[in-house]
């Protein structure tokens, strides 16, 4: 290192050094490498994305409408987007191109963005010493032949690869598969958000069992019924299954009324229909120590306050069938007031998909009201699901219970012995390709339970992909939602949690003290030796 002899040289050398380092950093932004050390390389392009982008046989262009002067937290999104687009380009055999457009000061670009339905997003930014609302653009459009797919707002990097690959896949698909949705008749049931998710890769439309399910519908998602179906409705469901249609049914045996603290039995012929298909839904509600929390209002003196309490009738499922692609990559699913499924050994193949934890149990019917509501227990029809001081919600005396499963294989029609229906034209009496997925939550496709809980959405989208025979996107989706919870026994036991906690606070320092004592011992030994040597 050359010596410096005066302040001028000192300043010059520092400026020179700073300039060189800034240049190196600027160059490094375009010439870089990334090494993803995570398991499954979750921050790199997945094999499915690589395979899909390599199928391009014509030029695809991504026009990215992204404002330049974005508030800090969004600068990262822009960089991540650019990185990921560069990866797509690398695997596209030269068919994928992208260009960033800054619409901020260009009216033409703004008009173009608006033509693609990419809206400006309002963000708070600091300008002229005050916080102002600014319109910024953060969207992109993919153009391929005469098709276009739009991602109107990219605010987060979460799930971006899935959205992009799903959009590209949709543009490459010759015929989009169709999913029929039966929302159910319960109050306030909404499936709008779920439909939006499904629309990324499927055509989604509502269907009804009043008439035969249209032939182009590959899969039907159906929320639970609250009373009996007409024989015609059952017939249409049966014939849909017989012709190889796929059904994902969300059906329970009790209708939970949380405000009233009770659940009432559903009387429906759908249960005998399912029993014919070899699936029995146990009437008792399953409870689990590993569960979601709910907010309840509690009173103490004159004060009332909201309190989060564990609520065993909403189990958190963490045990999945690792051999089924529908659930194998999932970490957690929440089911509401589920029931145990028993499969008849005489019927075709039954694949259990989800189990409750080993600390689960089932509610016994008929004890009301809970002690805190005043009075003694009385025997009535129904199930006590009142969240406070309810001893019935504390009995976890049964092992893992199956709450979702898939029936496949051969099956005879429910109407095979019916003279009225079996005579109908085009009646199908038998199938070798049954596909009936049952989950024992009565409203699993409701927006609050499906689209509102990302892991539940993932389960539905996985099931749609796998059941319609297109599992390419499953692996990308599962990468994005990876949660690795701690072992349940650690979280549910205060004693073990505290033991681990204190061990973690004390052990590192204790090791330092032991190391210090070892060093002191060694130094003493050394000193003694020196003393002996020099007498």
């Amino acid at each position: 290192m050359a010596r410096i002899n005066n302040s001028k040289q000192f300043a010059l050398s520092l400026v020179f050094l700073a300039v060189i380092l800034i240049l190196i950093n600027i160059i490094s932004r375009s010439l870089f490498f990334r090494w993803d050390l995570t398991r499954g390389n979750i921050y790199s392009l997945s094999e499915s994305s690589k395979s899909i982008i390599s199928q391009l046989d014509d030029r695809m262009t991504a026009r990215v409408f992204f404002s330049e002067d974005l508030p800090g937290e969004y600068v990262n999104s822009r960089r991540y987007l650019q990185d990921i687009l560069e990866e797509y380009r690398a695997y596209s055999n030269g068919n994928f191109h992208f260009e960033f457009v800054n619409p901020d000061d260009h009216e033409k670009a703004k008009e173009e963005a608006s033509g693609y339905r990419i809206p400006p997003v309002q963000l708070r930014v600091l300008e002229n010493d005050k916080l102002e609302i600014k319109n910024v653009y953060m969207g992109l459009v993919l153009l391929y032949r005469d098709k276009k797919e739009v991602l109107p707002v990219i605010q987060t990097t979460e799930g971006l690869e899935y959205d992009l690959t799903a959009a590209i896949k949709k543009m490459l698909a010759k015929d989009l598969k169709t999913i029929g949705l039966i929302a159910g008749k319960g109050e306030g049931v909404k499936t709008h958000q779920l439909s939006q998710f499904l629309n990324q890769t499927y055509q989604v439309r509502p269907v009804s069992l009043n008439s035969p399910v249209p032939l182009d519908v590959d899969l039907v998602l159906m929320n639970g019924v609250m009373d009996s179906l007409s024989m015609d409705e059952l017939y249409h469901m049966d014939q849909f299954l017989m012709r190889g249609g796929k059904l994902f049914l969300s059906q329970a045996r009790q209708e939970a009324k949380v405000q009233e603290g009770m659940a009432e039995s559903i009387a429906s012929n759908i249960f005998s229909f399912l029993e014919h298909y070899g699936l029995t839904i146990n009437p008792d509600i399953v409870i689990d120590k590993l569960c979601s929390q709910i907010q309840i209002q509690q009173r103490q003196g004159i004060f009332s306050f909201n309190n989060a309490v564990d609520y065993p009738p909403i189990p958190v499922i963490r045990r999945f069938n690792e051999e089924s692609p529908i659930v194998s990559g999932l970490d957690e699913v929440r089911v509401f007031f589920p029931h145990e499924i028993t499969a008849s050994p005489d019927s075709g193949t039954f694949t259990p998909l989800m189990w409750t934890s080993k600390n689960s149990g089932s509610l016994a019917e008929g004890y009301f009201p809970a002690p805190s509501m005043g009075g003694n227990y009385t025997l009535r029809n129904g199930y006590n699901i009142y969240p406070v001081d309810n001893k019935q919600l504390q009995k976890f005396d049964k092992g893992p219970m199956i709450v979702a499963g898939l029936r496949t294989g051969s099956q005879t029609s429910f109407f095979a012995d019916s003279s009225e229906y079996a005579e109908k034209e085009g009646f199908l009496a038998f199938t070798n390709d049954l596909n009936l997925l049952l989950i024992t939550d009565n409203r699993f496709f409701d927006d609050t339970r499906a689209a509102g809980i990302p892991e539940n959405t993932a389960l539905i989208l996985n099931a749609a992909d796998v059941m319609t025979g297109d599992a390419e996107l499953v692996s990308i989706r599962n990468r994005g939602i990876k949660v690795r919870p701690l072992k349940p026994e650690i979280l549910t036991s205060d004693t073990s949690r505290n033991a681990w906690k204190w061990a973690n606070i004390i052990t590192p320092s204790l090791l330092v003290i032991l190391f210090a004592l070892y060093k002191v011992g060694q130094n003493r030994k050394k000193r003694r030796k020196l003393e002996e040597y020099y007498g």
């Binding site: 380092l21 398991r39 906690k501 330092v512």
Partner: protein
């Protein structure tokens, strides 16, 4: 390089033969342990993100504390003059002391391994690759802070002044990423690029990106060179 090694060894032996290093380490580990455990079981995830978030924060105090004396003490005691009369270059002094500070930081990180071991027992299939990457990131952040600490220590004979100077620089670099909402958009890109956390966050999630590595190495190189230049000032003043 032999001279650098000699200075490194001398510094390491000075660290571990005084109670100060042990006390600093214990405080560092207790604070980390407390931060880690107060959220780890609450969040309930099988990773060390909580540790990787808290350690850089504790480093802001810990690293200036361990580096404040490295050059300032020599200046104050007048041993720097003696050192410079030996056939030792200024950069060798700075490098030897810098490596010993990084080694001490490495030892501090090594003692956080009980948290990692806990995770292996109570977690479900933790991502080891991402965790090792996170530790590498912490070492890089530590080395960067140590280089700033060396500069702070070179500038002043007073250890408190050295501590404060390096603390302010490190804290500013740490803070840049957190105050972006309050700065005008044209500055936010630059401030974000300068901030430590922005570069560390990529590594802590398990991705080694050459841009982040180059940033850390650039800052380290810049402050070490600055420290050497500051030592040289004495010779021509």
């Amino acid at each position: 390089m032999n001279t650098v090694r000699l200075i490194y060894r001398k510094e390491m032996s000075a660290y571990f033969n005084s109670a100060v290093a042990y006390i600093t380490l214990i405080i560092f580990l207790l604070i980390n342990g407390w931060f880690f455990t107060s959220s780890f079981f609450l969040v309930g995830q099988s990773d060390l993100r909580i540790l990787f978030n808290s350690v850089p924060l504790v480093f802001i105090f810990f690293i200036p504390a361990i580096t404040m004396g490295s050059l300032a003490r020599e200046n104050h005691a007048g041993t720097m003059e003696f050192l410079t009369t030996l056939p030792v270059d200024d950069y060798q002094i700075v490098l030897g002391k810098f490596f010993s500070a990084v080694a001490l930081i490495g030892v501090g990180l090594l003692f956080t391994l009980p948290h990692f071991i806990t995770l292996l027992f109570v977690g479900t299939s933790p991502d080891i690759g991402a965790i090792l990457c996170g530790y590498l990131g912490l070492l890089l952040v530590g080395a960067m802070y140590a280089s700033i600490g060396m500069f702070g220590s070179a500038v002043s004979n007073n250890q408190i002044t050295s501590f404060l100077l390096s603390f302010i620089i490190i804290f500013a670099l740490y803070l840049f990423d957190k105050i972006l909402i309050f700065v005008p958009p044209f500055l936010s890109g630059i401030l974000q690029f300068l901030s430590t956390d922005y570069h560390f966050s990529n590594i802590s999630r398990g991705v080694i990106d050459s841009r982040n590595i180059i940033y850390f190495l650039s800052v380290i190189f810049f402050f070490l060179t600055l420290s050497v230049r500051v030592l040289e000032i004495r010779k021509w003043r």
